[in-house]
Symmetry: C2
Subunit: 110 residues, 2 copies
Amino acid sequence: MLDRELKKGSAELLILSLVEDQPRHGYDIGTLIERRSKGTLRFNVASLYPLLYRLEKRGWIQGRWVEKAGQRRRRYYRLTAEGKKVLAAQRNSWREFVEAISRITGIEHA
Amino acid sequence: MLDRELKKGSAELLILSLVEDQPRHGYDIGTLIERRSKGTLRFNVASLYPLLYRLEKRGWIQGRWVEKAGQRRRRYYRLTAEGKKVLAAQRNSWREFVEAISRITGIEHA
DNA sequence: CAATAATATATCGCTATGCCACATATCGGT
DNA sequence: ACCGATATGTGGCATAGCGATATATTATTG
């Protein structure tokens, strides 16, 4: 119903936003989304990790393994230059999308 | 990533909202969504019609054939009592969803 | 110290969804 | 006669979501 990019947009938008300021690893991203949304949003690992691989393959994020004594290895993802552009575009798409739904359903947002 | 209801929510929400005030037929719903969203949202018929059948099967909308001379038969859908409840719930879910995304991505809405 | 929870990444396989492409039918305009 | 708009409908493919399951390490708690 919306163009392909927009539809996948909300999931991708969340991840790209979270790695914007600092590199984060998958598990961190998953728990952050759940906590910050107060439980409204939840990522299943079987969706989250494959999505991270897709984003990396597209060159929007770049991962690297970090191993520290006393903790399991983690793969930290940072936003690439290309990813920054995509994030900006997706933010606009999201705004447009929400406005469109508002116009049709009559829902107002705080 | 969101619960099943929420995810299908946006598509269902649009349809339920549009048949809230008056019965509408499928083609009308499709063109209305496209026009009111100024092209941002578009329903493919191969998604729209099956979705209408699903909503009717669940008892949220009720369709009836209307045949008038000088036009092709149309199936008009009206919102059922059950559908009204679902619509109210989905409006709340949608608001929650948008707020959650806003909190995580830092996007403000007009 | 043994069991359990939390952390962290990973994948199989089922189901549902989206949509391209195509099909059918009627009406109005050119 | 042809084409575009209106109107409904479907087969089949590609993809996404996710429950279930697996593996490995560290922290906690009885």
